[in-house]
């Protein structure tokens, strides 16, 4: 795995790209490479992280403009090849806007920008993104978002439940998300989108290490 490289996408307005890179390189020794959003050459990376932030100023809707970048256009083939894509916060919003994941993320029920640590139940370990042992497990990760209320219609929700695509649920729903959803995967399991920030929970001195497993799982085949 020495040459395994994770591409960290940088949009105008991304602000967690360096955090993700620090967590992967500094905490896990995984090589990273920044990918400017105008690049469509993904041949030199083995997995991709769409980091948090406010791509294109969140104009129109969160993630709505980013969806049309050359990089996101090239992502379809990357995902179809089975390579892993992790969308965190704004990255999750981009993945729903671009149709890689179902549903949409909209304004928090209480209209607050919520910056807090939250307890999350691991519902499914589809794709190996979470350490889901024999017993139901809970992890604690930070959230920081104003528009993290997951919404989908009832048919989509049924599909998510039936196919075990719900990865994480909030224990105490902070934002009004349908069915307490905090993170979902695609059917194949190689794409995960979540509102909490695993990259901000990779070092005991800054509050916890519950995010390490998910970032480390980027190198799974």
């Amino acid at each position: 795995m020495d040459n395994f490289t994770v591409g960290v996408v940088v949009f105008p307005g991304s602000n967690c790209d360096r955090d993700v890179s620090w967590a992967l390189e500094g905490c896990l020794g995984i090589r990273t490479k920044y990918l400017w959003h105008e690049s469509s050459d993904l041949s030199n990376v083995d997995a991709i992280v769409l980091p948090g932030g406010f791509s294109y100023g969140d104009y129109l809707r969160c993630g709505a403009i980013a969806r049309f970048s050359p990089l996101i256009n090239a992502l379809d083939e990357f995902v179809k090849s089975g390579k892993r894509v992790l969308g965190i916060c704004n990255g999750f919003q981009i993945l729903t806007e671009s149709g890689f994941l179902p549903g949409a993320l909209t304004a928090n029920k209480n209209l607050n920008f919520i910056c807090d640590d939250v307890e999350l139940d691991i519902v499914s370990s589809k794709g190996g993104w979470f350490n889901n042992g024999d017993e139901k497990q809970t992890i604690k990760l930070p959230i920081a978002h104003g528009e993290g209320r997951y919404h989908c219609d009832s048919d989509t929700l049924k599909k998510l439940v039936d196919n075990e695509l719900i990865a994480l649920r909030y224990k105490n729903n902070p934002n009004g998300s349908s069915f307490d959803i905090a993170g979902i995967t695609n059917e194949k399991g190689n794409v995960l989108g979540l509102m909490p920030h695993p990259e901000r929970a990779c070092e005991e001195t800054i509050g916890g290490t519950d995010g390490l497993f998910t970032l480390k799982s980027l190198i799974l085949k």
Partner: protein
């Protein structure tokens, strides 16, 4: 080429909670306005566009609305079109 002025209205679907609308409704009541039963906030987008006739322009606007202006998972849209 004909030129058209288009006004696109994007609204949250009725089934989607609009917390900003609720907050504005609450402020409206505090202002003393009576009788407000519902208040929901949407977006209006003005576009000037040219094309060969109304049908061609409608096709372009439909595409823009469906793919960009609205996220049809949570929003509905409608538009009016005026030939300039």
């Amino acid at each position: 080429m004909d030129q058209f002025a288009v006004k696109v209205f994007v609204r949250l679907r009725p089934s989607v909670l609009d917390p900003a609308g609720e907050a504005t409704k609450s402020a409206s009541i505090k202002l003393g306005a009576e009788g407000i039963k519902s208040l929901r906030i949407g977006k209006m987008i003005e576009v000037k566009i040219e094309g060969n006739g109304e049908n061609e322009v409608r096709e372009k606007i439909d595409l823009l609305c469906d793919r960009l202006f609205a996220n049809t998972v949570i929003e509905d849209y409608e538009y009016s079109l005026e030939k300039l």
